[in-house]
């Protein structure tokens, strides 16, 4: 199947042959390292806390 343009500005093309990689973890040791590093933390909540702090301290 021919590739089709997904986003013209950045020359990103969809290649169906690459679909086999969509659910694969290709860098498992790095993913595992980040999993260990972030374990027990709620990053979204930490980001919300930063936003709330900025809101409070903003003049």
């Amino acid at each position: 199947m021919a590739v089709k343009s997904k986003e013209k500005q950045t020359s990103i093309k969809y290649n169906p042959a690459l679909d086999r990689f969509k659910d694969m973890d290709l860098f498992p040791s790095k993913t595992q390292a980040e999993r260990e590093h972030l374990k027990g933390r709620d990053i979204r909540k930490e980001i919300e806390d930063v936003i709330n702090t900025e809101r409070i301290t903003k003049p």
Binding site: K30, T31, E34, E46
Partner: protein, 135 residues
């Protein structure tokens, strides 16, 4: 950002990207992959490395020295853009595979922070504490 980038190919979900870096060491096959870190949180690890086309092995620690760092990183940045089109409310966690690589990423993010900030919320992490990255 109006930086020169390589042509990229991707799969249907836009979590896997590949392109070929062309420089002083020749052609190097590059891979970018976004992988969910936790099943119950939309936080994705940005994995990035070289692919050995003979063995199929991926290496995220290799130093390519292909003389095209800015173009390579601009291409990775383009994949972030494309990834967020499909996963707009997610968080991408990006850290180098070594301290020097993380530093290189920090320098380049800082260089273009004004443009990046116009499209994304950027946060850094210092001693396990999240901080806003500002220009």
């Amino acid at each position: 950002m109006n930086l020169e980038k390589y042509d990229i190919e991707t799969e249907v979900n836009s979590t896997y990207f590949e392109y070929i870096s062309k420089g002083s060491q020749g052609s190097i096959f590059k891979v970018v992959k976004y992988t969910k870190i936790f099943e119950d949180q939309d936080i994705y690890n940005l994995g990035f490395g070289d692919k050995n086309l003979t063995t199929g092995e991926l290496d995220d620690k290799v130093i390519s020295n292909n003389g095209d760092t800015d173009k390579v990183l601009a291409t990775v940045a383009a994949t972030i853009h494309e990834f967020f089109n499909g996963f707009p409310n997610s968080i991408v966690y990006s850290k180098g595979s070594s301290l020097s690589r993380t530093r290189l990423y920090q320098i380049n993010i800082s260089k273009y922070i004004a443009e990046i900030e116009s499209e994304f919320d950027v946060y850094g992490e210092l001693k396990d504490t999240i901080e806003r990255k500002r220009s």
